[in-house]
């Protein structure tokens, strides 16, 4: 009997664990180690953050689902890996620390034959003074929608802000990125337009100045170097598409900005041209930058080998080309295909946990040397597809032996469907429905745009909102492993 241990029960880890359990059956063990008792459909946190959904609608208890799937569930966080075992045994293991009520702080060594690291991002609030509280958590100056709890808090703060406007007090709203190296601009994009939509519904839009601040060098970069899509018979840059939406909704923008400090009601920033400035706010949702969750790794003799498994940003090194060098040398083929650790063949990473070879956007820095560029996004669809491919590989390795084929899921050969909500409402909602193919631009194949414009498109409308709503229910249904779940694509 072999044991697969999956670290992280988010989009990638949950997908990997549930498919592995289905494919391996009872003959082998699948263990999930994840610190939360509930699964969260993160994209719908946006709607929780504007009070349009309750937290309970975007989360569910993991324990019964894993029981049904035959997955061993440990509510704990992984702390370190010992891929060579220890002095008394060659069996690799991961050290975990329980977060489950009644067992908090207890630690255990969980042995594995195969390991999938799908621990996602650490929300690195403390990278910007005042964005965090100094102990790794979100500070009190701004709000976030990265977790369901954060989103509930954001909605309460927004409510207070709306009340002030109703009482005749003008409010300044700032939404965007809280650091020069943030990713996930799409989430902030959704939030700013959902807030704008809610203000309109509350009849107070005239009382608000809404401003976008981001590390993108142009609007619509989204950490993907932007994209070109077919709109109205033209092939148009996402810059035009995004700017048009901001202008239409009367949202000002400040781009190429590194938020360097956050205080109550005020941020300081540095721009790509090296100048600095301040922006005041009454309500701000600023995303934190992401890093790896900080797993350590030790050799058999107890020496620290973290650097051989993880990149300096804490993400796990996989089969990517990390030596591509300057932007001019970057190729789509630098991106990983199998997500296998080059150091230990029985370790894989999936979703945000793998270390990308480089950015997708053009690297930029201010004359003062401050990097101001989005890091590459790894959104839900690629994270799910990678999780499934890696699970497939591990199952084949277990059932067919070490020579089994390693399944591939390169982000340079897959597309992504993204639906960015711009306001909720059955007949009044809108969303930007976009597809991009491939996710990582391939300038060898498509020298002008980097992408296949046959499969890269976008449009704003109510239909996008309906799709977003259908996806919300469909992915929660799938994650709960309801009948037919495995037929729903990632």
């Amino acid at each position: 009997m072999a044991r697969l241990v999956v670290l992280g029960g988010g989009v990638a880890g949950h997908t990997a664990a549930t498919f592995a359990a289905k494919w391996l059956g009872k003959e082998h063990e699948v263990v999930v180690v994840t610190p939360n008792s509930k699964w969260n459909w993160i994209p719908s946190n946006i709607w929780v953050g504007v009070g349009q959904m309750k937290k309970e609608e975007v989360v569910f208890e993991l324990a019964p689902v894993y029981k049904k799937a035959g997955v061993i569930y440990k509510q704990a966080k992984a702390v370190s890996l010992n891929p060579e075992g220890k002095d008394t045994s060659d069996k690799p293991f991961v050290t975990i620390e329980y977060t489950q009520e009644g067992k908090v702080g207890e630690s255990e060594d969980v042995e594995y034959d195969y390991l999938i690291n799908a621990t996602g991002p650490k929300l690195n609030f403390d990278a910007t003074p005042g964005l965090g509280d100094g102990s790794g958590q979100m500070g009190t100056n701004t709000v976030s929608v990265c977790t369901a709890e954060h989103a509930v808090h954001a909605s309460h703060e927004l409510e207070k802000c709306i009340q002030k406007m109703k009482d005749g007090e003008r409010q300044k709203i700032l939404v965007g990125t809280g650091h020069g190296t943030c990713t996930c601009q799409g989430a902030a994009f959704e939030y700013i337009f959902n807030v704008e939509h809610e203000l309109k519904k509350a009849g107070v839009r005239d009382m608000a100045d809404i401003k976008w601040i981001s590390n993108e060098s142009f609007l619509g970069d989204f950490g993907m170097g932007g994209l070109h899509m077919k709109v109205g018979g033209y092939v148009v840059s996402s810059k035009i598409f995004a700017e048009s939406l901001y202008a239409e909704r009367n949202v000002e923008w400040l781009i190429g900005a590194h938020t360097s400090k956050v205080e109550e009601g005020k941020i300081e920033y540095e721009l790509l041209d090296g100048t600095t400035g301040e922006e005041t706010f009454d309500f701000a949702m600023l995303l934190p930058p992401f890093s790896g969750v900080g797993l350590k790794a030790y050799a058999k003799d107890g020496s620290d080998i973290t650097e051989s498994i993880f990149a300096p940003n804490g993400f796990m090194k996989v089969d990517a080309n990390y030596d591509a060098g300057a932007y001019e040398n970057w190729k789509a083929s630098d991106w990983p295909k199998t997500y296998q650790s080059p150091a230990y063949k029985n370790i894989f990473a999936a979703g945000i946990a793998f270390a990308p070879p480089h950015l997708m956007s053009k690297p930029m820095q201010s004359p003062n040397g401050t990097p101001i560029n989005p890091t590459p996004p790894r959104t839900g669809m690629p994270s799910g597809i990678i999780g499934k491919a890696v699970a497939h590989t591990v199952c084949d390795l277990i059932t067919q032996g070490e020579g089994a084929h390693l399944h591939e899921a390169s982000m340079a050969e897959m597309g992504a469907a993204c639906v960015a909500s711009a306001g909720k409402g059955l007949f009044t909602g809108t969303a930007a429905a976009m597809t991009v193919y491939p996710v990582v631009p391939d300038y060898d194949k498509y020298p002008g745009t980097g992408r296949d414009t046959k499969y890269t498109f976008g449009e704003v409308g109510l239909a996008g909102h309906w799709i977003k709503h259908v996806l919300h229910h469909m992915f929660l249904y799938k994650a709960k492993l309801k009948p037919g779940w495995a037929l729903i694509p990632e």
Binding site: S244, Y246, A247, E459, L462, A463, I467
Partner: protein, 53 residues
């Protein structure tokens, strides 16, 4: 006032982009048209999804 007269005057960034006219805006929430777009978008997305698996 039309959206272009109202919003283009607000700042220089706005002035240099494009804005949807009244017809394009109406079509965005026109239920019949959006139902057709819903079907079309789903098919387009399924093609991209199938190319990615």
């Amino acid at each position: 006032m039309s959206i272009e007269e109202e919003n283009f005057q607000k700042n220089d960034n706005f002035k240099l982009t494009m804005l949807p006219g009244a017809f394009a805006k109406r079509m965005r929430t026109c239920v019949v048209w959006q139902f057709i777009r819903f079907m079309v978008l789903n098919i387009k997305m399924l093609i991209v999804v199938s190319k990615s698996h």
